[in-house]
Assembly symmetry: C2
Homo-oligomer: 244 residues x 2
């Protein structure tokens, strides 16, 4: 155990921030950490938009489903999967640019490796973070607002700022449900879900003073009973990605 | 600046390992750190296979394109995007399971957030890591070897072990090519590529004693001049993912 592992293990999302802006030293530390993350074949297929403009934050908050903490946080980062820069690099040499599901995957993963480094750097500075998948609710509008070029898409946002709450840590699935030795053990995964349901029943009950009496698997079943964000595939097509 | 940010900024991939196995305390620290990463709506749509079996490592090394360090490293992790557990959770409640490109994206991102936490935890313990995208060269065989169920796929592997080399740090794209203020600045991205080409020309030249005289954009142009891993889309289809 060491301070970095303690930090990783003490993560919880922050959804209430003090209005303090980040210093340029903090932003520098966060972005330089993000950039040093691994990247597939060094393609670095991502960009980061740092949003501080109040009007822009307000509009993004609205587009993400009225999440006020996007407006409140000191810095709102949007992580963008970016094949545009690579296509331009090919064009510099007059060569064709072939892309497909693999390159979409690489760009999404590269953006996410950088994002998680940014999250950890921010937390190590005493800041709080919250990933905002809601940026995919109206992704076309987000692209227009941020003037994103073709072959890019916003994967998610991230609130970064000075925490104004002390939320508890949410329990995770039991180890044996997630970590498998040498091959996938479906029986242990199923057993883990069962145990987690009991843990989360208590967690929800305590957090809501007995009002919410449900399990994790019930929440999952309800969430996936209807299609979620069915617009994502046509949106990606419209951005020029080829999921073929 | 603090020790965690120093650690993040000093990352380099390790491709030569001492044969030491990891201790159970090390594995516990790495996996518990991975599990505390953020997850979209707490779906935790990933699994991790920890491979220590020598025969299995040898076979995975072969399938990933004869990368010997997969065999040498103390622990080989395979990060698996996992909608299987969620489908089973829905089945527990007799509810239908709707999934699409959005859910594929969520599972890939969840696996990657966990993976990067694992990487940082390992590095904080003095271990070295290397992501192995080569696991996607023959992904169907990897699924069979690891007995992965439907609606899962191996996103990449990760070598973890005691470093037996001290590689230099690879320069990254200039800040202004990657980090944009309030909106995407295509002109700065283009200028950044130009500057990076000069940096990387020197980097390759020095590292190879003058044998490799090329730029980053030339490498990108050559890489994308032909389609890469065109089998990924049909492979994902065969795993039950719906990219619709």
């Amino acid at each position: 155990m060491n301070p970095t592992i303690e930090l990783l293990r003490s993560h919880r999302s922050i959804r209430k921030f003090k209005p303090d802006a980040l210093t340029s030293e903090q932003i520098e530390a966060i972005i330089s950490s993000a950039q040093m993350a691994s990247s597939s074949s060094n393609v670095q297929a991502y960009s980061i938009i740092g949003v501080t403009d109040p009007g822009l934050k307000q509009e993004l908050a609205r587009l993400a489903g009225n999440q006020a903490y996007i407006e409140q946080c000191g810095l709102f980062l949007v992580f963008v999967a970016d094949l545009h820069r690579l296509k331009e690099a090919s064009a510099l040499h007059g060569q064709p640019f072939h892309h497909n599901t693999e390159s979409f995957l690489v760009a999404t993963v590269d953006a996410t490796l950088a994002a998680q480094n940014a999250a950890i750097a921010a937390e190590s500075l005493g800041l709080g973070i919250c990933y905002i998948g809601g940026i995919r609710n109206n992704p076309q509008n987000v692209c227009e607002l941020l003037q994103l070029p073709e072959l890019t898409y916003p994967v998610y946002g991230m609130c970064v700022g000075v925490p104004d709450q002390e939320p508890s840590h949410r329990p995770r699935l039991p180890r044996q449900a997630v970590y498998h030795s040498n091959r996938y053990h479906a029986d242990k995964a199923a057993q883990g879900t069962k145990e987690y349901d009991e843990t989360m029943y208590e967690y929800y009950r305590e957090r809501t003073g007995g009002k919410t009496l449900t399990t994790w698997s019930q929440g999952i079943a309800d969430k996936y009973a209807k299609p979620g964000r069915a617009h994502i595939r046509p949106f990606l097509d419209s951005r020029g990605f080829k999921l073929e």
